[in-house]
């Protein structure tokens, strides 16, 4: 074998091994969660859907799942309500302090999440809202809104502003222009931003661990406290479901984004 061939063969073998290190753990828990036994072992003594049934039959898991959905959807809607107008202002407006505003809005991305959680705990405890869903929704919105802002600003950069002027000259009002002209054209960016925002909230555990107690526990919070006691096959089943759930949602985002760039590239200019 020539040295160059040997070298690239080694490189690909290495790449395959490293990818295996990153992915096999995610895959191996699928058969493990399907165990018919009482403990998490591999190889499994036999296969069954027993632990998935256990999840569905346990009201605490079900309740926490709905808590996560309610919190995730509310945080997503709120992020869009705040993020989309702000994205239009930032993408099209020229005003002093724009960089400062961008910096302020981006702070939730850089502050370590433990500090966010503790700070939110204090803030909402003083307001008497600690342990309420609304406290988690507001904090998750702060964490998710920078992502909505960036994706919407990106799709606005591909937006042809003469369309707005055309609509104005035809007599459309501001609301009508927004819902009938702008929103349909930037919808791929809005939808991917919204999905990522939802996943940020749905997967978030640190803020939830400071702010949610008892009845208001979210799904990640349930996993977090469950793992600290014992790792049961039920935990593995939830993990599998979460992997599948977020992968499916983010698959939609990937598809939307590739479609958006493709249609942009093929658009005659």
């Amino acid at each position: 074998m020539k040295p160059a061939t040997l070298r690239s063969a080694t490189m690909y073998v290495y790449a395959a091994l490293l990818l295996a290190f990153m992915l096999v753990p995610l895959l191996i828990i699928v058969p493990m969660s399907l165990t018919s036994g009482n403990a998490l072992t591999f190889p499994t003594p036999g296969y069954s859907l027993r632990w998935y049934h256990e999840l569905i039959d346990d009201p605490r898991w079900l309740k926490s799942f709905w808590n996560s959905i309610i919190i995730g959807v509310s945080a997503t809607l709120l992020s869009c309500a705040l993020g989309i107008p702000a994205a239009i202002g930032i993408a099209w407006g020229e005003f002093p302090g724009k960089r400062l505003i961008y910096a302020i809005v981006a702070t939730p991305l850089v502050v370590p999440v433990v500090i966010v959680g503790v700070a939110a705990f204090f803030f909402f405890a003083e307001l008497g809202l600690a342990g309420q869903k609304s406290a988690i929704i507001l904090t998750h919105t702060a964490l998710a809104v920078p992502v909505v802002l960036t994706t919407v600003v990106a799709s606005l950069s591909r937006f042809d502003r003469t369309l707005v002027r055309a609509a104005q000259s035809l007599g459309a009002g501001t609301g009508r222009i927004f819902f009938k002209v702008i929103l349909p054209l930037i919808s791929p960016g809005v939808v991917s931003g919204a999905i990522i925002a939802f996943i940020i909230s749905f997967d978030e555990v640190v803020v939830a661990s400071f702010l949610s107690t008892g009845e208001e526990r979210t799904l990640p919070r349930m996993i977090f406290s469950g793992v600290r006691e014992s790792v049961s096959p039920a935990i593995a089943s939830v993990a599998v479901l979460l992997v599948v759930f977020s992968a499916a949602l983010l698959g939609i985002v990937g598809w939307l984004q590739s479609r958006a760039t493709r249609s942009h590239r093929t658009r005659p200019s």
Partner: protein
């Protein structure tokens, strides 16, 4: 246009930035002590530990302050704060405040009466700590978070060995983040190179596989390592099956498992930033170097490496800064000796309710974070300067 941005900015300021700054302020805030012991501090003016127990006037002020605090419902907070500085003082403060509010010490002289009921006040070192806690602001927590304290004369001195745990935690946090960054950097270079130089369909498949873990939650990826590395998990069973070991290894809750989990979680970020830089380096550069007779390793080191250095640095910056703030992963897969600053912040908030210390540790964490971001950023600026000039 600015009006469209205003609601978002207000929201972030009120719900996010305000609460964070308010919490960080707790690291120097002393108003709960100063506000509730105002008369006592005034009476203590000029008192020295060497002159023995304070006099009657101080005790009268103390009883008046404690009675007020009790009536305002602040005695619990006050007792907690004094207890942080003088362990065991909590019940003394609470009981004395209750008696004071009930009017047990109504007729002076009070000093002997108080000392007879609550002998704890006869401890001069307690008074030294109280005297030191005067003033609206305090450096007590910030000093505490770097294992320092004020000595008897107000000078800064090292904390007693049994309480000096924070510099260790700080060094450990930086060290773990450094090792994780280094491992990520070394491991991902060949993978990124393979992604860039593979023929198109394979290149895209490998890229998608690298991104896939990013799509799953951090918590789930951490939990998976507990399952995989546990005593009768797949890794131990495979090693037992092949006969490499005859006893299951304890892999989980160790520094090893922490590194494994953190590298697996953060590696995609490094690969992504390397790939984005490598894609912009034409393959012909390496070919030219090789055709001029350079051995492959020399060509890679002299031609490819300098060109991908910016990607290296930005990837390292992202991994390092993320790693510094990690909480979930060290808490779940690390052992007691592998905890990072974030875990201490959570511990002092949830378990001991020492919020001033939690805030001081947060200030510390944020400062390291900012410092390392600036460091990476300027390193990047230095490295990319010659090429900008060319």
């Amino acid at each position: 246009m600015a009006l469209l941005v205003a609601p978002l900015v207000l929201f972030i300021l009120i719900v996010f930035l305000g609460p964070v700054l308010r919490f960080l302020w707790l690291s120097v805030d002393n108003s709960d002590v100063a506000g509730n012991l105002g008369r006592t501090f005034a009476a203590l003016e000029g008192w020295q530990a060497s002159s023995g127990l304070p006099d009657e006037a101080v005790f009268q002020a103390l009883i008046a302050d404690l009675a007020d605090a009790r009536q305002k419902g602040r005695d619990g907070v006050l007792a907690q704060l004094i207890n942080q500085r003088k362990v065991g003082a909590r019940f003394l403060v609470i009981k004395t405040a209750k008696d004071a509010a009930d009017g047990k010490f109504a007729t002076p002289p009070l000093r002997e009466a108080v000392l007879a009921q609550h002998a704890g006040w006869g401890d001069v070192s307690l008074w030294t700590e109280i005297r030191r806690a005067s003033g609206g602001l305090t450096d007590y927590y910030l000093l505490n978070s770097i294992d320092l304290r004020r000595g008897a004369a107000g000078e800064i001195a090292p904390a007693p060995a049994d309480r000096a745990i924070f510099l260790d935690a700080l060094v450990r946090t930086i060290w773990i983040s450094f090792v994780v960054t280094l491992l990520c950097a070394l491991l991902s270079v060949p993978l990124a190179q393979a992604i860039v130089s593979a023929p198109p369909p394979w290149s895209r498949v490998m890229f998608a596989l690298v991104i896939f873990p990013l799509w799953t939650s951090l918590l789930v990826r951490t939990v998976i390592w507990i399952i995989v590395l546990q005593k009768n998990g797949p890794v131990n069973n495979a090693l037992l099956f092949t006969g490499l070991i005859d006893q299951p290894l304890s892999l989980i809750y160790t520094r090893f498992s922490l590194y494994v989990a953190m590298v697996q979680v953060l590696l995609p970020m490094m690969v992504l930033s390397l790939v984005s830089v490598m894609r912009r380096v034409p393959a012909s550069y390496m070919k030219a170097a090789l055709s001029l007779g350079a051995p492959w390793t020399t060509a890679w080191r002299r031609v490819q490496l300098p060109l991908i250095m910016p990607g290296f640095l930005s990837g390292s910056a992202i991994v390092f800064v993320f790693a510094l703030g990690y909480y979930i992963t060290p808490t779940l897969v690390g052992g007691p000796g592998d905890q990072m600053i974030s875990s201490y912040i959570a511990f002092y908030t949830n378990t001991t309710l020492n919020w001033g210390l939690a805030a001081a540790l947060s200030v510390q964490l944020l400062l390291i974070l900012i410092a390392s971001a600036v460091l990476f950023w300027s390193a990047r600026a230095v490295i990319s300067r010659p090429r900008q000039a060319a």
